[in-house]
Each structure stands twice: as C-alpha cells, then as structure tokens.
C-alpha cells in the first residue's frame, strides 16, 4: 500500500497550520514525523485520519485520490491511529475493548465474544504482542494498554498505523518492547507513521525522517547519517544546546525536607509510603519514575494541596505540614504543576492575569481591595520578555499560546520573585525542543542562585540532564538513589530503568 499526501494546506483564519505538505508512506516502512509543538503535526495527522479536512491538496491511496469525512472513512481505507491518550473502557476486557464498535454478532444480535477472542489471540501471536484477551484493561500496565490500542487498529485491518507520541507514557523497558513490536509490524508489511519529539527514538527506529517546522516540511534526514544535534537544529531552525550546561552543584543548608510522609486513601490504599528525603539549597534533585507511582500525590503534599496521613514536611527547618498553599508560597515555595492546562494556567484568562495568578494580592499589585492592573500589565510584559514568551500582547488569552509558551508563563510566574524551593513537575512535558533548552537553562540558573530545585518527571532524559541527585519512585516509595551525571561519570541509565520498573537496584 502506498499513501501519498500532496500539497496539503490547512488554514485557520490567517494562520496556516499546514503549508503545501507532501508526505509518502509505503508498506514495510517506518516514517518519523518530527516537529516542535505547534509545527502542525497534529493538524496533518487529523487530516490524514479524517478528523478535519484540508483546504487544499489531495490524499492518494495507491495512486487514487480519496476523501475522508470522518475517521470511519480513514479506518475503512486501512488507516488507524493510536492516540496519545488511550481510548479504552477500563472495566472491559481486552477482547471487549477491541471489538467495541465493530462487534461480531451471531444470530440476531448476540455478541460473539468467542470469535473476538480468537481474533485477538491470532493478532497477538502474529505481531508478538503477548496479550491475554480476557484480561481486564484497568488491571494492565500502561505499556500493555497501548498494545491493546494497537490490536484495536489491526483488528480493523489497518495497513497504515499512526502513532502520536507513543513513548510518552512508557518506561525505558516498555519503550524497548514497543520498538520491537513496531519493527515486527514493519516486517509484516505495515506502514508506520511515528510522531514524536524525542530525537534519540527517531534515530533508533526510523527508516525515513521528515521534519516539520511552522507548518512547512523543512527537510528530510537519513537516520543512518543524521545525529540528534542536526535533527534538533532542523526542527527548531537554529542550533540547539541539547544538554543544559551544568556546573558542579554546591549544596548548602536543607531547604525542603520530608520526614516519613505517608498518604493513605480513605479506602485504605497507601499512596505514599514513608517518604523521606531532603533537597538542599543550590542542588537539583530529580525524582524519576513511571507515571502513577505516587509522584502526583508527592507533589500535592509538598505544594500543600493534599493532607498527609502521617509524617512532616519542612521548609528551611520550619514545619509547614499543616500550612495552606498560600502560606507555603509566602515562605518561598514555587510550584510548576504537572498538568499545566488544568492546574497551571487559566486558559481563557489574559497573560497578565495568569502571570499574577498566585501573587495578585501582594502590595506590588494591589491597593486595599483593588488590583493595580497597570502594575500587573507592566510586570507581565517584563516577565514575558524575560522568559521569552512568544506573544503579540499580554492581553492575549493564555489559551492562544503554544504549550511551550504556556509553560514559560507558569515558570515566569514562579521564578520572578525571591524563592527558596522550586518544585517542578514535568517542567517540559509537551514543550518544544527550543523551549526545553531555555527552560532547563533557567532551572539551572535558579539552582546556581541558591534555590533548592525538585524535579519530578517521567521523562528520564530530563531527569538525567538536570539532576545532581536522582531518586527513583516506585509504588509510593523512594526505592533507589543515584548520583547525577557529572564530569566524572554518567548515570547508569539501565540501573535507573530497572529501579523505575520496580526491580531491585543493582548495588
């Protein structure tokens, strides 16, 4: 099968999201589409998957032009997509999830689960997925859930599979397994389109690389000869420093300390299990771990958004366990939340309003009961400029900004005042490479100014790039500690990976 996109153009008002893009996919080939956030990758995929229509250009399958009015048409034509967020019913079994929407029936309207299970098993065998059709989806690890999504597509006889940031939720081991599966599918003659911003994965997996920038296809790269630096430059449009330049840390007094912190759900589930560690002024501590091992709860406990069941949280030797978020904020805590869209910014609010979201009450911005918007606007201008927020006006709603720029607003808000503890969860999730470089630089700068930095991230690369010390979190506990990479030596990535998967750290 041969899929050709020719001259695809999509405009939103005066903004051109896709500008005359040509793309070819062939059976038995893995094509990687690289691009920053906002480069137009998702728009292009939505067009190919029938979720939106191009203003100009054609899609051809085996030379014949086709039009897709909905994903249904795309699926019929043999195109399937695994979304970044899985679309599974947690309480259904694998087989039930797979057939959902296209259930085999016997007689009048009797669900034929038996034949469904057989198909799932057959597909699983054919592509080496090792999936039990009777397992309930919510009991499965994320990596296996992703395979269920793949089976769903293969069940619908897809010849072309689109993956949108598929490795974002996986452990390093799961990523390896996933790559094996993708290669098997290639061998079986499927065409794979892989969307990602992780440069190393692209080089490892791709047969061909297409790079998208500002809605235009700016170049191709050969994975055999290209390196990450070259790809990053192509993606951003200028040379990029991929690892934050980091001098050796000079840790001073403890600024944040957790003592035996446990959090138990009302139902009895232990979410945090006697967590204890400290972060000193002038060091960056990274907490690595696969999503859902208690990181969210840990962040909430430190930020004051969740009560502890037992244990103490201290800032500069002061017990803050029962303090409100605002009181901790006043003591010098800055918090970059995990889910920026939901917790970090108010999307319909102007940039100015978002910039003062947690400090509007300070004398600088208020007078009695009133707010001084004139001061806030000027401060917002300065902060936006200082943190390189790309916008035309501070009166623009935050939702009009790209993910990276929204994150810069959150960071600017946290860092534009004297702080002692900087708590950043997933500081660069969904952020383009150019902005990652910048954000990392600012985080290291804060450390050098004596701020205690705690990074919690599921992106191991990020933890490795920034941390002076690495803690691994598994099942609500801190299970391992590693020295960060430095001039003396690199971190044993494999050991960290094993610890993230729950294995005992090789001493």
């Amino acid at each position: 099968m041969l899929v050709e996109l020719e001259g695809i153009t999509k405009r939103f008002g005066s903004f051109t999201a896709n500008d005359r893009i040509d793309l070819t996919l062939r059976s038995g080939e893995i094509v990687c589409l690289l691009g920053e956030n906002g480069a137009g990758k998702t728009t292009l995929m939505n067009i190919l998957y029938g979720l939106s229509r191009a203003d100009e250009g054609v899609i051809k399958i085996d030379g014949k032009p086709v039009t897709f009015d909905s994903p249904k048409d795309a699926i019929k034509a043999g195109i399937g997509m695994v979304h970044q967020h899985f679309m599974l019913v947690p309480v259904f079994t694998v087989a039930e999830n797979v057939v959902l929407g296209e259930e085999p029936v016997r007689g009048l309207d009797r669900l034929d689960l038996k034949s469904a299970r057989q198909r799932v098993e057959a597909i699983s065998r054919q592509f080496g997925l090792s999936i039990n059709p009777d397992a309930v989806v919510e009991d499965l690890p994320v990596g296996v859930q992703q395979r269920v999504e793949i089976v769903k597509i293969l069940y619908r006889n897809a010849e072309v599979l689109i993956f949108d940031e598929p490795t974002a939720v996986l452990t390093p081991q799961e990523v390896d397994e996933f790559f094996t599966i993708v290669r098997t599918m290639r061998e079986q003659g499927k065409a794979i389109l892989f969307i990602t911003h992780k440069l190393r994965e692209v080089l490892e997996l791709a047969d061909r690389i297409d790079v998208l920038r500002l809605g235009k296809l700016v170049g191709h790269a050969d994975p055999k000869t290209a390196d990450t630096r070259e790809l990053a430059a192509l993606m951003v449009g200028r040379p990029v420093e991929l690892t934050a330049a980091r001098s050796i840390a000079a840790p001073k007094q403890p600024a944040l300390r957790l003592e035996d912190v446990s959090v138990r759900e009302p139902k009895g589930e232990l979410l945090l299990d006697r967590i204890g560690f400290e972060v000193r002024a002038g060091e960056i501590v990274g907490i690595a771990g696969v999503q859902g091992n208690g990181q969210t709860e840990l962040i909430e406990v430190i930020a004051g958004l969740r009560e502890v069941t037992s244990g103490r949280v201290l800032m500069a030797e002061k017990d803050v366990t029962s303090m409100s978020p605002r009181q901790r904020h006043k003591l010098g805590l800055a918090h970059v939340p995990e889910d920026r869209q939901r917790f970090g910014i108010v999307p319909p609010f102007m940039i100015t309003e978002n910039m003062v979201l947690d400090c509007y009450y300070e004398p600088q911005f208020s007078w009695g009961p009133m707010l001084r918007w004139d001061h806030a606007n000027i401060a917002a201008c300065e902060r936006a400029e200082d943190f390189d927020v790309r916008t035309s006006s501070v009166f623009a709603p935050a939702r009009t900004l790209s993910g990276g720029n929204q994150q810069k607003v959150v960071l600017a808000r946290g860092m534009s005042r004297p702080i002692s503890v900087f708590l950043a969860a997933q500081p660069t999730r969904g952020v383009d490479v150019g902005s990652i470089e910048y954000i990392h630089k600012r985080i290291v700068e804060a450390r050098d100014h004596g701020v205690a930095v705690l990074i919690i991230s599921t992106e191991l690369d990020e933890i490795l790039a920034l941390s002076d010390r690495i803690l691994v979190m598994y099942d609500g506990r801190i299970t391992a500690e590693f020295e960060g990479s430095s001039a003396e030596g690199a971190v044993d990535i494999a050991a960290v990976g094993v610890a993230m998967g729950g294995g005992a750290p090789a001493a």
């Binding site: 605002r326 939340p337 939901r342 999307p347 009961p369 201008c381």
Partner: protein, 376 residues
C-alpha cells in the same frame, strides 16, 4: 526600562475585539431570529400577517414609543438587572444560582418589614436601611447554599431550588401572621411601606401614573459596582479564577470555598435588592408571589448577558422592553402576553445554539457564512 506605558506587549489583542463583535452580532441575530420564529408561531395559530405586524409594531411602541412606554420598560427592567447581576456573579464563580427567586422573596419581605416597622426616620436613612435589609436577607439566604457548597460540596442547583420552595412558603406564612400582616385583613398581605422607605418616583411630576422610580439608578449604580468588583478587585479576581478553573485557583493558593460562599452571598444580596426594589418602589407592600418569576427571568437575563455586568444591563433592558411592549401588544393587537414568554425563550435558544443561529443567518445573508467559518 523606560517608557513602560509603550511596551510592545501592551498592544491590544485584536482577536478579543473580534470576539466581542461576534458575540454582539450573535445576540442581535438571535433576537431577530426569535421575532421571525415568533411570527411563524403566530401564523401557525391562525393569526394573519397584518395582525402579526400590528402586534410587533404595538410591542415596539409599547416599549419605546412614548415616555410612558419607556417608563414601563425601565420599571420592568430594574429588578431583572439587579437579580440578573446576582445570577451572573455566581455564574462567574462557577456556581449556577437558581435561587434568585427565593433570595428575592426573602429580600423583599425583609425590606417590607423595615419599611413599615421602623418609624420616625427621614427618607435619607430609612430607605437605605430598608434596601440594606433586603440585600442582607437575600445574601444570608443565598449564603446558606454557598456555605453548604463550600463545606460539604452540596450542589448549589439542588440547594437553591429547595431554598426557593422554603422561601415561597415562609413568605406566605409571614404574610398571614403578625407582625407582617396588615391589620384587619384575613388574606395574606403585608402592611404598607412608609413613605420614608419608598423609592421615590422620578417621573410622576410629568404624569402621576408614570411608575418609574429611583430603583433604576440603583440598578445602574450596582451594575457599575459589580463591574468594578469583578474586574478591579482581588475578590472579583478570585471569583473569576475559581469560576474559570477551580483547580488552577486552588493551586495558586486561592481558597475556593471562601470564594464560593462569598459569591453566593453577593449574588443573594443582589437578588434581595431586586426584591426590595419591588416592594419599596413598585408595589408598596408585599403580597403572595410578589416575586412574579423575576428570579427565574433573571437566569435568562444573566445567560443572555453572558455573565458580564454590562451585558446583563442590556439584557435586562431587552427583557424589560419585551415585557412592557408585550402588555401593550396584548391590549392593542389582542394577542396573549404568552407570546412574549415564547419570544424570550426563543432568544435564549438561539443564543444557546450559536451554530444553529450562524447557519440560519449565513443562509439568509450570503457571504456571512464563509466568514464565520473562517474563524475556528
């Protein structure tokens, strides 16, 4: 950094103006479409085109055609604006205040009581006191729902509806018992409000039957006050943040329970003021059902006004005009006042279904559809 007032990022954001224009256009189109649909309904019930024309014409003259008409429009609009602001401010804090009717009743009955029971005060003190009583009573009544929401998470839609029932029966009870009930009466009716607590008529020097009272000034003043509260104070910023994203508000250190309680209390105070306006300015006493559904119309007014104080003011005027014009239409064209309720409902349907409204106007006005599609 010098010359900060001319910072490049202080440039106005153009899409904002465009979206304001689109909102106004959509609302205007909704009103026009409602009238077209209303005409079709009248046609379907066997009313001839000439009478429909007469109906709309008399509605227009009844709303704006004379000083008397304008007086009636503004009289009807005043409580709608006040209570509409009450619904709007709760809405801004993410709360759906269905209880304006009950808050209005409680405010009205408290204002009546202060209006007749407190004697010997000059107007300058007595009237503000009676108004304040209305606001406080309404605020406390709504505060119950706000506190329940903040402390226990009880859904405000349920609690305000229930408080409406309680208020309705409580007021009936008070009206048939001393000290509220008028001496020598067996039917539920309150004592008359003293002259010193009456909102003065402002046009009766032209014609004695011009009913417009000083309450309209109150409504405009309060509109300005609520605008200031929402957009220029810390409390208003907290309200809006909680309404737009409770999660972000909590993360930023805003106490969302406090904001919810306060916004409900302010909302109730505004509805209470609307009730006070009715008893102190229009009716002169309280009788069963003096709220006359204003608290429910206020929900429509708040929605039509998009929760913005200025929008609520304009929507309140529109609904007031429809009501005043409707009464005139009924007497002139012999068409039941119910059509006004239908029109009000239709306006909201078209506002609530923007895609439908755009599709229809796009078909009627060629060239429009293309433009509206261009903006995602």
């Amino acid at each position: 950094m010098s010359g900060l007032s001319s910072h490049r990022l202080l440039a106005p954001f153009r899409d904002r103006q465009a979206s304001l224009k689109a909102t106004l256009g959509l609302t205007a189109a909704s009103v026009v479409l409602a009238f077209v649909a209303g005409a079709l309904i009248m046609l379907a019930t066997g009313i001839g085109p000439a009478r429909i024309g007469l109906a709309y014409l008399s509605m227009l003259t009844g709303a704006f055609g004379s000083l008397y008409a304008i007086s009636e429009t503004l009289t009807a609009a005043t409580p709608l604006i006040l209570a509409g602001l009450g619904v709007a401010i709760a809405f801004r804090c993410g709360l759906f205040n269905i209880g304006a009717e009950g808050q209005l009743l409680m405010g009205g009955i408290a204002a009546v009581f202060v209006g007749f029971a407190v004697k010997g005060l000059p107007l300058a003190i007595h009237l503000p006191l009676a108004l304040l009583a209305g606001a406080v009573a309404g605020g406390l009544w709504a505060g119950i729902a706000g506190a329940l929401k903040a402390k226990t998470g009880a859904h405000e839609v349920i609690t305000t509806i229930m408080l409406n029932f309680i208020a309705l029966r409580l007021v009936d009870f008070l009206l048939t018992n001393p000290p509220i009930q008028k001496a020598g009466r067996n039917d539920p009716i309150s004592q008359d409000v003293l002259a010193s607590a009456t909102l003065p008529s402002i046009l009766d020097w032209i014609e004695p039957h011009y009913r417009l009272n000083a309450g309209i000034f109150l409504a405009v003043l309060v509109t300005g006050l609520i605008y200031w509260l929402l957009f220029h104070t810390k409390i208003g910023f907290e309200f809006r943040t909680v309404g737009a994203s409770p999660d972000a508000a909590r993360t930023a250190g805003i106490e969302i329970g406090r904001s919810m309680f306060l916004s409900m209390a302010v909302a109730g105070a505004l509805a209470g003021l609307a009730g006070a306006n009715q008893v102190l300015g229009v009716l002169g006493r309280a009788s069963p059902g003096f709220s006359a559904g204003i608290g429910f119309d206020a929900i429509a007014v708040a929605l039509l006004g998009r929760g913005h104080p200025v929008g609520v003011l304009l929507a309140g005027l529109l609904f007031g005009a429809l009501e005043a014009g409707g009464r005139h239409m009924q007497s002139q064209a012999g068409i039941a006042l119910d059509i006004v309720t239908i029109l009000q409902a239709l306006v909201l349907v078209f506002v609530a279904a923007p895609a439908l409204t755009r599709a229809i106007t796009g078909r009627l006005v060629p060239g429009r559809a293309a433009r509206s599609k261009a903006t995602p």
